[in-house]
Amino acid sequence: MRSYLLAFSLLLLCLMFAGCTSASSTKHIPDELSGQLTLTGSSTIAPLATEIAMRFEQQHPNVRIDVQTGGSGKGIADVRQRVTDIGMASRPLASDEADLTAHQIAADGVGLIVHASNPVKELTPDQIIAIYTDKINNWKDVGGEDKEITVVHKAEGRATLEVFLGHFVIDNPSVKGDVIVGENEHAVKTVAGIKGAIGYVSIGTAEADIESGVLIRLLPLDGVAANTANVASGTFPMSRPLNLVTADSGSKLAGKFIQFCQSADVHDLVKSQYFVPITSESEIAK
């Protein structure tokens, strides 16, 4: 038995060290940029930031960028305490965060979704407010079938919620939801599973899911169709910015990286995550 245990532990040890081989590139290209950068914050921006960071690292092999999540609030708190270099926040800065600087790298529309089988084509702002404050309870009151409305709302503090409440001028305590969700995907799956449901999500997420066949439909707002093209051209009214946040004494490397994120070089990456690049150029074809 002892020899077996010994062999097993040796195997484990080998496995452990197998992973500790150093990184592949040993060529040292003389490059003016080197060092390490850490980003923390919103899990919405994290996939995009990771992709942009990978492209940046390819162009500057001596740089290493680590992206961590934890939420917009954590990102901003970490930047304040200088624990991280850049924070990721999927919302505009609040009034008590004026000591920090926000650099917008993309925009994300917020649209209403209903189940794909729901015959209702559009809802007026008043109807939406009434549905969300529990004054209208059945789809037949807004021109649909005789079915109860299941209201899907978001948790407090979320950027999508803030944008939604801000646009329709309601405060959170007056909203009476039937289900409260955390992430956008949660809302999408809920609405797709209940015929009489209505919710609001990031337009990018909704479009990606509709493409993969999920049974939801985006409702137009004020007559404007809800798609990323309209968010890009500015005609769609509800959207939120995706920001990289720095404290004023950001390092040179951080500055260069943020510049890269805002440049046209990464527009394809932004679009692949179903967000809207910030310049209002006309290339919106997907």
Binding site: K74, D178, V179, V181, H186, K189
Partner: protein, 281 residues
């Protein structure tokens, strides 16, 4: 003897380290929740009108109730099924079927809570929704939570039953006692310490579960009026709001974590008091 003393010292040191970890975690919770406790005071967490932290309302009671309902409900689901599963594997199944069953239950133990949550959301919730409502309510959450902690009960009961001296069972069979009677009168009472351990471990696991409950319980903060009402547990609350919370809000969320710890401590205390009265081997 010297090696005995070494053993005693080493093991006691390790035990103290384990206890120290508990102290550290509790200390961490206390440190993070003190600002809110000092500013808001304990009573408001039970008497405010609702839970809207951004508007200054901090009532935790509906969430405490939802936590208790889902966790205790999960045990009501998991304990009988887990014990039955252990009995099945040891006394009713052929050896190959028993091996398969054990393997499957061990797999169930390792499935991430996200996957359980997704399965519940996409498969179970629409089924429950046919009974009314959105399908995301305490009932769905309880069932899935029960499934998640079932392996704990099953595996530990199984180990406890398998560790029983075989002479007991053979002796009982020699006396002509039937299988169900052996199970009911000899095996289960004999293994009750292990089974009890499994249930307590499962209960604490259920109380600490976050992700799956978040996806399935509906997350509406109000007192549940029926099993099909939505509810929000204390853990789901922390997970939902922490990432987007300001400093003061964050401290309040840690208070709810502290509250959960108090609930868990109370339950543990009650359970261990009860078991303490039966002090045979």
């Amino acid at each position: 003897m010297r090696s005995d003393r070494t053993l005693t010292i080493v093991t006691r040191t390790l035990a103290v380290i384990s206890a120290a970890i508990v102290v550290l975690v509790v200390g961490f919770l206390l440190r993070e929740s003190t600002p809110a406790l000092r500013q808001i005071g304990v009573s408001r967490f039970f008497t405010d009108a609702s839970w809207h932290p951004r508007s200054g309302e901090f009532n935790l009671t509906p969430m405490i109730v939802a936590t208790l309902v889902t966790s205790l409900g999960a045990i009501v689901v998991a304990a009988p099924m887990g014990i039955a599963s252990a009995v099945f594997v040891n006394f009713y199944a052929s050896r190959r079927l028993a091996a398969w069953h054990r393997t499957l239950i061990e797999l169930l133990a390792g499935i991430p809570s996200v996957v359980f949550g997704l399965w519940g959301l996409v498969v179970l919730a629409p089924i429950v929704a046919t009974f009314g409502g959105s399908g995301q309510n305490l009932f769905t959450a309880t069932i899935v939570l029960g499934l998640m902690v079932l392996p704990t009960v099953a595996l530990l009961s199984d180990a406890a039953i398998a560790a029983l001296p075989r002479e007991w069972i053979q002796g009982a069979a020699a006396l002509g006692i039937g299988r169900s009677a052996i199970v009911g009168w000899i095996v289960l009472p004999g293994a009750r310490r292990g089974i009890g351990s499994g249930i307590v471990l499962a209960l604490t696991r259920a109380l600490g579960e976050t992700m799956a409950v978040l996806m399935l319980a509906g997350n509406i903060v109000e007192m549940p009026s029926s099993l099909l009402s939505p509810g929000r547990t204390l853990n789901a609350n922390i997970a939902l709001e922490l990432g987007y919370a300001s400093v003061g809000h964050r401290s309040v969320l840690f208070v709810s974590g502290l509250m959960l710890m108090l609930v868990v401590s109370a339950i543990i205390f009650l359970v261990s008091r009860q078991r303490g009265t039966r002090r045979d081997r």
